[in-house]
């Protein structure tokens, strides 16, 4: 047993030794320790350096509020994790931890130089200093700040562990397994309510579990013994799920809460077994009882940050829970009675302790108890200085003046190796405020407590501002009964004995004989902001607490100001001479404690990150070595390289084959919407710009769909299958949105229309065969069908059969070639495709991908919505006036086509571009200018599509250019990084303007 392990407790098994490494040195602790308690048992206080001044810092607390003891664990493994609080991590065999933010070592730290130049690093220093000269920023300031500002190292390897999400519903959720949470859980579960209790520690009981003091008894038992029995009973209840090692991360509206359960974080690396590491619980609770407790406040005085200065209640927890004495010559500095429990506990174990109290007196039972045990108390006194670099060794104290604004008398020096501090308690109202709850300010002990008006949850115990045992038990019982509508409980007649605190005094910033400018009175330990910084911010004109917080960075570290926010507020109030309650608090935002990315993402990683949609022909594409392109969620063949072909060579070959003989494209991904109903024709009239009433059955028509603002939204071919039956196709990426938009109009604007929409995108697979030989191939597949132009003209459709399987054949073209599309139920998609390939063999049918499709349609000047349009193009801008019906009274977007802005003649309009050098291919997205002499050079447009056309043997491009319609033949310039490319505006149709090929 180490020197500091002075006490045997049931929570730490001192028969089971656990070895671990800290900063490269080996130590021993026991099962049940945290990393912090094990370090303290070895006498290690110094665990890190502060963020800005690199001052030595020690373990300060025993929980999630810890600002200093922040470690990197298991460095150089793929399980490494930064910013782990030593006070929270359970010790396991082989744990390797190291201090963060100190280089080269915690004992010798180069950044510590900041401490000596600290008079020159006030609040806002970075904002003020690194402003100029501008050229210094990138090369000097930024690298310097980045190098010195790191908070740990993120892992460089993929996370090997699994994370889970779990959705649950319950009648009552109780947050916090301390005394009030246990009382609430018992009442809820015993009244037939499905109850969940979550607790972030590995055991229930909160701080009551290590209470063994004559002054605090419940039903004549020590409160610690009483709660042990309660927990044992609780575990037998059927309606209750108890989740320990589970911390509440967020409390959203409508009682929707997120909690993170640690499943394997406390296990040694070799015992994790690749199982689930953490589980994120997504809880929808009918009722929520918040019992999150309170956090002890530090006191703000000069040099209050040395290793060995700790929260008083943590000193007690290390002693009574872990059996570790943080020092052998303790001094406790307080403004309240609770610190005397620590003193009594130390004294009872024969450990030296003295008290410094800023109050003039206190006549409570616990204070008398301490006095009887011989604890020396310095009343009306304050600490004015502390000494010791790597660990505190002595302090200086002075008397306070009558009003507490100054110090008087002589300095007294007291040696110590641990200074416990207690500035009272702050209720953890984070959950309450996250849920939207407001706070009230309680003057007597300067606390913000929950205002429950209009809230669908209650707060019980010390998070509600009930600090004394009697209040906690009785108020919790009363509130829970009322909230859950229970008439009586086993807690109704509990006999409670406790010491009552009658005398209170609070001073946010303790006075000193040293001038304020020379004091280092820390408020935010992690971000190193001091009382001086706050006052400077106020002098510089910051008034709002939110602004002061950002300027001084108070409360903005990983602990989110759990220890610092109240002091910052208090000092602002005192300095500005206003009441603290009128300032309001800063906003508490989720997560309460940091969440791992893994727990947020859960199983949605790798293949589960997003849905991957594949057509029924996908396997064939893979077998034939297709390269794929993502189009929305779809994987579409991009091109099919043969041997070593690159994209360019493959696309040139595919494009030529499609125009010279035959090509085949998997068009299954196009959106397909089945439209039925007696008003189907009228509906299409309203959603497309052109007229649909006269389209014959068995005919197809291209349609352009606008937004109500007149801009092109989607396009595609729609086929009239029957009198009241249409099949609409949409772009691949737009399918879902088009369906939603059409549903919206049907349900909300035109509910009188008899129309039904069904998405059938996945139901049919589509093979699109084009080229001069496509007709011959179709004839081989459908032997009994007449494919003559009279019997089966362009833009028409017929039913067909392949081996008794029905299919639809549309003679439509997106390439400008003679072209057919065959639709078949998806399960036959691959066999249809293979049949086409087989039938096309003698014509060297060539499968082509999206890139060739884009090239072929560009040769023909067909637009792609989303590539040649960007939500700011009207059909008129696209030079597609022919598709806008003049006769129709109304359609979506019609009125917008003659708004003053849409009729401007200098809008960007779609044109063709030909490069003067036919081998020069423009870059898509490149900017277009006309006049290079006038600076700044005006950008008049950009290239939207650009290819080298093998069929025309020259480069072609589509572009949008201001007033482009009137510019035919005009010379323009496409300036690139190294050269200017000369281009000429042309017609946007480059090939077969007479449409001879489609009817070939």
């Amino acid at each position: 047993m180490t020197k500091y392990r002075v006490n045997k407790t049931k929570h730490v098994d001192q028969t089971k030794t656990v070895s671990f490494d800290f900063d490269g040195k080996s130590y021993h602790g026991f099962e049940g320790d945290t990393l912090a308690s094990a370090l303290l048992s070895n006498g290690v206080h110094l665990v890190g350096r502060s963020f800005k001044y690199h001052r030595p810092r020690g373990i300060m607390s025993s929980g999630s509020e810890e600002p200093n003891a922040i470690c990197q664990i298991n460095e150089d493994t793929d399980l490494t994790e930064p910013n782990v609080r030593a006070t929270e991590i359970e010790l396991y065999e082989g744990l390797k931890a190291s201090s963060q933010n100190c280089w080269p070592s915690v004992n010798f730290d180069i950044g510590g130089i900041n401490n000596f130049i600290s008079p020159f690093i006030p609040a806002g220093f970075y904002y003020k200093t690194f402003m100029w000269p501008k050229s210094f920023w990138k090369k000097i300031y930024e690298p310097l700040i980045r190098w010195s500002a790191g908070l740990g190292k993120s892992p460089t390897k993929p996370d090997p562990e699994l994370y889970d999400h779990k959705h649950v519903h319950c009648d009552v959720l109780i947050i916090g397994g301390g005394i009030s949470g246990i009382i609430a859980s018992k009442i809820a579960a015993k009244n037939n309510l499905k109850t969940i209790l979550i607790e972030d520690k590995n055991i229930l009981g909160g701080s009551t579990i290590f209470q063994k003091n004559e002054n605090y008894k419940i039903n004549d038992k020590y409160s610690g013994e009483w709660i042990d029995e309660e927990i044992a009973e609780l575990k037998k209840l059927n309606n209750l799920t108890i989740k320990t090692r589970t911390s509440l991360a967020a409390y959203h509206s409508y009682n929707y809460l997120l909690a993170k359960e640690n499943i394997s974080d406390h296990l040694p690396l070799d015992k994790k077994n690749g199982g689930i590491r953490q589980r994120l619980w997504k809880i929808r609770a009918d009722k929520v009882i918040v019992a999150t407790g309170a956090i002890e406040r530090p006191l703000v005085f000069n040099n209050n940050d040395r290793p060995g200065i700790m929260l008083s209640n943590s000193v007690k927890k290390y002693l009574d829970f872990y059996g570790v004495s943080c020092g052998f010559k303790n001094v406790i500095f307080t403004n309240n009675d609770s610190a005397y429990e620590t003193a009594v506990s130390l004294k009872e174990k024969g450990i030296s302790v003295e008290m410094i109290d800023i109050r003039k007196k206190s006549n409570s039972k616990i204070v008398k108890n301490a006095e009887q045990l011989g604890v020396k108390i310095y009343w009306n006194s304050t600490v004015v200085n502390t000494f010791g670099l790597r660990k505190i060794y002595s302090i200086e104290i002075m008397n306070l003046s009558e009003d507490g604004s100054n110090v008087v008398g002589n300095k007294i020096r007291i040696n110590c190796d641990c200074l416990g501090i207690s500035g009272g308690w702050t209720p953890m109202v984070h959950m309450h405020t996250q849920s939207g709850g407001k706070l009230d300010f309680r003057e007597i002990d300067q606390t913000f407590i929950p205002n429950e008006i209009d809230k669908n949850h209650i707060n019980v115990g010390s998070c509600n501002g009930d600090f004394e045992l009697e209040e906690i038990i009785n108020n919790t019982n009363k509130k829970v009964k009322n909230y859950l509508k229970v008439s009586e409980t086993e807690f109704d007649n509990t006999s409670i004995l406790n010491s009552k605190e009658l005398d209170k005094r609070n001073i946010w910033l303790l006075p000193n004989y040293i001038s304020e400018g020379k004091c280092k009175s820390f408020i935010d330990f992690q971000n190193d902001s001091t009382a001086k910084d706050i006052k400077l911010a106020l002098r510089e004109g910051f008034k709002s607490i939110e602004h002061v917080k950002r300027y001084t960075t108070t409360g903005m570290a990983t602990d989110q100001g759990k220890l610092s926010n109240m002091h910052a507020l208090g000092i602002i109030a005192d300095t500005a001479g206003v009441k603290m309650g009128t300032l309001g608090t800063t906003t508490f935002r989720p997560p309460f404690t940091p969440l791992t990315f893994g727990s947020i993402v859960g199983r949605s990683v790798g293949n589960f990150f997003d849905i991957i949609r594949k057509t029924s022909i996908h396997k064939w594409h893979i077998q034939n070595k297709a390269k794929f392109e993502n189009v929305g969620q779809w994987k579409r063949p991009w091109y099919y390289p043969i041997n070593d072909e690159d994209l360019h060579d493959a696309v040139q070959r595919e494009s030529k084959a499609a125009r010279d003989s035959a090509g085949i494209l998997d068009a299954s991904t196009l959106g397909k919407i089945d439209i039925q109903g007696t008003d189907a024709s009228e509906f299409l009239n309203r959603v497309y710009t052109n007229a649909w009433s006269k389209l014959g059955i068995g005919k197809c028509r291209y349609g352009l769909m606008l937004n109500e603002d007149g801009m092109v939204y989607d396009d595609g071919v729609t086929t009239r299958l029957g009198e009241n039956h249409y099949l609409m196709t949409t772009t691949t990426g737009g399918a879902a949105n088009v369906l939603s938009k059409l549903e919206d109009y049907l349900q909300t604007e035109w509910p009188e229309l008899d129309v039904y929409l069904t998405s059938v995108t996945d139901h049919y697979s589509t093979a699109s065969i084009c080229g001069p030989n496509s007709k011959k191939i179709l004839k081989k597949i459908f032997t009994d069908k007449d494919f003559s132009d009279d019997a089966f003209p362009h833009m028409s459709y017929q039913n067909g059969k392949i081996d008794e399987i029905n299919c639809r054949i549309m003679r439509i073209s997106f390439t400008g070639e003679l072209s057919y599309e065959i639709n078949i139920e998806s399960k036959y998609g691959k066999s249809l495709w293979e049949k086409c390939i087989e039938a096309g063999k003698e014509f060297k049918i060539t499968p082509y991908g999206t890139e060739t499709m884009h090239l072929l349609r560009a040769e023909k000047g067909f637009i792609i919505v989303g590539q040649d349009t960007d939500g700011t193009m009207t059909p008129i801008d696209l030079q597609m006036d022919w598709i806008v019906s003049k006769k129709k009274y109304d359609f979506i977007g019609k009125r917008s086509l003659y708004r003053s802005d849409t009729i401007r003649e200098d809008r960007k309009q779609l044109v063709g571009l030909l490069t003067d050098d036919p081998n020069e291919v423009l870059e898509e997205g490149a900017q277009i200018v006309s006049d290079m002499s006038k600076k700044p050079i005006e950008m008049i447009g950009h290239v939207t599509s650009s290819y080298f056309s093998p069929n025309l043997n020259k480069s072609i491009a589509l572009a949008v250019v201001k007033s482009g319609k009137k510019m035919s033949g005009q010379k323009l310039i496409v300036p690139m990084e190294n050269k200017n490319i000369n281009v000429t505006v042309s017609d946007s149709v480059f090939l077969d303007k007479e449409n001879k090929r489609i009817n070939a």
Partner: protein, 91 residues
């Protein structure tokens, strides 16, 4: 994360729904007879107030029905949910 009482399906998590903005903006029956200003009023102008607001919502990952909702944007309290075509509640 609200709990939304879809008038067709009952209470469901907010993640199943999408919001379609301000409700009760009726598409003009004769758009061609409107001035640019009147059309712009329909097309672009939407309220975004702090307080009680009438909104369109769609049960996108459920029954896909559109309906209306009265929500207080300051505290996300949902005061009423009603079907398309039904009159908004008076209070």
């Amino acid at each position: 994360m609200f709990l939304i009482n879809c008038p067709y399906c009952g209470e469901r998590d907010q993640s199943e729904f999408s919001c379609g903005g301000e409700a009760h903006i009726i598409r003009p029956k004769q758009p061609t007879e409107l001035s640019d200003d009147q059309w712009a009023e329909y097309l672009f102008m939407r309220k975004n107030i702090k307080g009680v607001q009438f909104e369109r919502w769609n049960h996108a990952h459920g029954c896909r029905k559109w309906f209306n909702m009265v929500r207080d944007t300051s505290n996300d309290k949902i005061h009423a949910v009603y079907k398309m075509g039904e009159k908004p509640p008076v209070e």
